[in-house]
């Protein structure tokens, strides 16, 4: 048997890497016995991750528990007998699941021939694809499995893996909700690279025009007929198919390039069975065997893009009046889970934006436009200004590979827009450009002691206050210019923060719904009052004396500002600016010093009932800090006046002293008192005005 001798040679000479699913085969024991002499001279490498996996299965206590236990025992014995060796690399701990095996193999391949023992068809095809693609010379790679007799056999290109996943056509008709798992977990991740694919931009010439009613073909030759056009876009057209659970995207002929074909075919080497991610399931070709597009699962029901639903809060609440903050938090969690799943495969979405995420309800979302994802050397050629990190604004995305950091900015922006419904962190599109604001990293919201800076005012501050401090901190970390070059918050951390938020929101005692005057989180997504907390028996910030809501007072302030702007005759003049800043820096009513309160009243010309602050630190300090300008200038007047008084009376006293020493002492005192009184009185009148 040629195959057999090749394998024998491999067993003797190649580096042997063991995968968990191979070890869990029933005949693993037999395998170890059969090949014991060979293996004692060239032992099997057991990545430590395999052991971890087996331990994990053990802990899960499911039906594979005993197999795992037995396998671990076998491995122990094998290491004692010298047929196996554990191998632990600190790098491995940072990568998950299959990635370890593939990483180990990829690390070895340039220098050594490798024999991989596995039953995971995904891993197998991945490794073969990798070696075929390698632009540099690799050594030989053999992927082998074990049969029921304990004998080794090599998987070929067209293997019949025990968890077979061939036949694209059959898969199409299968219920997409049935989860297909490989032995060791999710699909094998893609390689990480920072090299652009060499085929970028190479056009594919297609002779035939494709229309409704035409037929296209799968790789195995089976036909699909394109039915009704569902949508047309810049890149191509989406058609319905006879199979109602799938759609077919056909690229425009002038947009058909080799890298698109390669990317789709690469994506097809992995199965993503999650129906909420519209991952390509098959590639379609025309009768000339030219690649034309791909087939993807169809979203069930009628989900609406976030940009047309939740991010238009006024209209959204009319359609779904029962949607609360809790729903938004759960929605955020669902989206985060999907994104994590893609990141675990080393896929970057690239163009995260509210049109690519469809929502049915808080637990059901669909990620579409999956062919634009960034995978290996194939970039995501599009981007949305608001979701693009400041450092890469203006880049040519067609020739640009994004990094995780860039993606985390988009993720943070998306989460922000979920909780501040529809508002992007750097405001202002329309007349003013969003790009400048993003580059400046002007993030205007309050955090802790820091006051909100200038625009935007309005309902967003109310929303912001109903986020927990940890989340505000996280948003600040991602958006504020003080953190310009720092690492952004990771998906895992967001998941943790969201989990904590969810726990709070699910506690009846911490939440309420509607404009009632209560302490805690308002479940409404457009709250009417700032959040109140109870601290040391007091409610902070305090409720004002009148019965109006913070929202109403905000309206009053805006009316006052608008009127004073009209007064000043030009919107950009002094009064509007001071009106703006006094609004930004307004203080509480009862607890601040009367000087500050009166000072702010003087600026605007109206007795503004002060609006509450948006955070929970002691109000007294903020009162002083925010009206700093007016307060300190009054203080200076006191000091100057006092010094002046002393100087003047000192001079007067000295003059009189030289003239008449005895009596003048008392007169000097009187003079001092007299002048002091006059000057202080004058200053008092002046500052009170």
């Amino acid at each position: 048997m040629q195959n057999g001798s090749r394998l024998d040679k491999a067993l003797a000479k190649y580096v042997i890497v063991l995968d968990t699913c191979f070890a869990m085969q029933e005949s693993f024991d037999a395998f170890l016995q059969n090949y014991k002499p060979v293996l004692q001279r060239n032992h099997v490498l057991v990545p430590y991750r395999v052991v971890q996996e087996l331990s994990r299965i053990l802990d899960l206590r499911d039906d594979r528990q005993h197999v795992a236990e037995f396998t671990l025992l076998l491995l122990e014995t094998a290491t004692k007998e010298g047929t196996a060796e554990y191998r632990r690399d600190p790098e491995d701990d940072r990568v998950i699941n299959d990635a370890v095996i593939s990483r180990v193999v990829e690390g070895l391949l340039p220098r050594r021939d490798v024999l991989v023992l596995t039953h995971d068809s995904n891993l197998s095809s991945y490794l073969y694809t990798k070696t075929q693609q390698q632009s540099f010379r690799v050594k030989d790679l053999i992927v082998a499995g074990v049969n029921s007799e304990g004998e080794l056999f090599a998987w070929g290109e067209h293997r019949q893996a025990s968890n077979g996943r061939r036949d694209e056509g059959a898969r199409m008709r299968r219920d997409p909700r049935r989860r297909v798992r490989s032995a060791s977990g999710g699909p094998a991740p893609f390689a990480l690279t920072n090299k652009l694919a060499s085929s970028l931009g190479t056009p594919l010439s297609s002779r035939q025009a494709v229309r409704e009613g035409d037929a296209l073909f799968l790789k195995d030759g089976s036909r699909v007929t394109l039915r009704r056009v569902l949508a047309t876009g810049g890149e191509g057209t989406i058609y319905e198919l006879d199979d109602e659970s799938s759609l077919c995207k056909v690229y425009r002929q002038d947009k058909l390039t080799l890298d698109r074909q390669e990317k789709i075919e690469l994506m097809l080497t992995r199965t993503v069975s999650d129906p909420m991610i519209c991952w390509p399931r098959a590639a379609v070709y025309d009768s000339d065997k030219v690649f034309r597009g791909f087939i993807m699962p169809r979203a069930l029901g009628k989900p609406v893009p976030l940009g047309h639903s939740l991010f238009l809060p006024a209209a959204f609440l009319k359609a779904r009046p029962s949607w609360t903050r809790l729903n938004s938090a759960r929605l955020a969690m669902t989206i985060l889970q999907k994104i994590k799943r893609l990141h675990d495969m080393n896929v970057l979405i690239g163009d995260i934006n509210p049109q690519n995420i469809l929502m049915e309800d808080e637990k059901t979302i669909y990620l579409v436009d999956c062919d634009s994802y960034q995978i290996e050397g194939y970039p995501c050629s599009v981007g949305t200004v608001n979701f693009t990190a400041p450092e890469i604004q203006g880049s040519d995305f067609r020739h640009f590979l994004r990094t995780k950091e860039h993606e985390l900015f988009s993720v943070a922006t998306l989460l922000f827009m979920i909780f501040m419904p529809g508002k992007s962190p750097y405001s202002h599109q329309g007349g003013e450009d969003g790009v400048t604001n993003i580059r400046k990293m002007h993030f205007p919201y309050a955090l802790g002691e820091r006051r909100p800076v200038a625009a935007p005012a309005g309902p967003w501050r109310l929303c912001w206050s109903h986020l927990p401090f940890t989340m505000k901190e996280a948003f600040n970390q991602c958006f504020h210019e003080d953190h310009r070059n720092e690492k952004r918050v990771s998906i895992d951390r967001w998941a943790l923060l969201l989990q904590e938020y969810l726990q709070v929101l699910e506690k009846r005692s911490m939440v309420f719904h509607g404009p009632a005057r209560q302490v805690g989180y308002d479940l409404s997504i457009l709250p009417e009052n700032y959040r109140r907390v109870e601290k040391d028996g007091e409610i902070r910030p305090q409720w004002p004396i009148d019965t109006s809501t913070d929202r109403e007072r905000m309206v009053r302030q805006l009316v006052a500002d608008a009127n004073s702007a009209a007064y000043a005759n030009h919107a950009g003049s002094d009064s509007a600016n001071t009106a703006g800043s006094s609004y930004a820096g307004t203080t509480l009513t009862t607890q601040t010093r009367s000087v500050s309160a009166r000072a702010s009243g003087w600026t605007t010309g109206t007795s503004t009932p002060a609006t509450a602050t948006t955070h929970t630190s002691p109000p007294f300090s903020t009162g002083i800090a925010s009206t700093g300008k007016k307060g300190s200038s009054a203080d200076w007047k006191w000091i100057i006046g006092f010094l002046l008084t002393i100087a003047v009376s000192g001079i007067v006293g000295l003059v009189w002293y030289f003239w008449d020493p005895i009596v003048e002492f008392f007169t000097t005192l009187f003079a001092i008192a007299f002048w002091a009184a006059i000057i202080c009185g004058a200053l008092l009148l002046f500052s009170k005005k």
């Binding site: 940009g307 809060p313 599109q429 329309g430 007349g431 805006l558 608008a562």
Partner: protein, 227 residues
């Protein structure tokens, strides 16, 4: 403006924080417009309001103001979301055509509304100015108004649609108001088709992504304009 009205305007900004699409309609109300033309114009506006109200996204986003000009320029309706609007009825007040005055007033109202947006932290898309006249301007104010609109257009702060009604209006005068959009002549008194096209365009605009370049429905323009 009355206190109540002002309060409602500001409240709208706080209660509905969606991004706005401000549209300024600057309409000729001179003597030559009286009778049939004014009737058709009013009908067109009514259809516009209806159509926008029915689109859930546009009804929260679109804000329109109406300025009429004859001898003087008059604010018929200041910027407001269409959901709250009572039906407008323009009347031809006779007299001359103070085109420049009308445009200037519309731009002033727009500036004021933009300041209100900024104070309330509400984002807005590029505003539109729709200018419709059936005759020649009788004052020379239109020259300065024209340079004002062209400047704003160039800075990307305004989209202008100059429309000529009937044959007496000179396209060359209207061309002063926009460098990017050619002035178009309305087919007869086909205000309805125009306002339908406007409502559709505005709906699409309100759903677009920030920074996205939305091409105009040029095909649809052929429905109401004489090309």
């Amino acid at each position: 403006m009355s206190d109540d009205l002002m309060r409602i305007r500001q409240e709208e900004l706080v209660v509905n924080p969606s991004n706005r699409v401000p549209i300024a309609l600057c309409l000729d109300a001179s003597g030559s417009m009286s009778g049939e033309p004014m009737k058709e114009l009013n009908e067109g506006i009514r259809l516009f309001i209806e159509a926008v109200r029915q689109d859930p996204v546009a009804s929260s986003s679109v804000e329109a103001c109406v300025v009429s000009f004859s001898d003087q320029a008059r604010t018929e309706q200041d910027f407001q979301t269409l959901a709250n609007v009572v039906d407008w009825k323009l009347a031809a007040t006779g007299g001359s055509t103070n085109l420049g005055g009308g445009v200037n007033l519309a731009l002033d109202l727009l500036e004021r509304r933009k300041e209100e947006y900024k104070r309330a932290g509400v984002d807005y898309f590029q505003p539109w100015l729709v200018l419709m006249t059936d005759g020649q301007p009788t004052t020379s104010e239109h020259i300065s108004a024209g340079s004002r609109t062209c400047n704003m257009e160039q800075q990307g702060k305004l989209v202008v649609f100059p429309i000529a009604i009937g044959n007496a209006a000179e396209l060359s005068t209207l061309a002063m108001f926009s460098k990017k959009n050619q002035p178009l002549r309305l087919k007869g008194l086909n205000f309805r088709d125009f306002f339908q096209w406007l409502s559709r365009s505005v709906s699409r605009w309100s759903q677009s992504r920030p920074g996205e370049k939305m091409p105009l429905d040029v095909e649809g323009i052929k429905g109401w304009a004489e090309i």
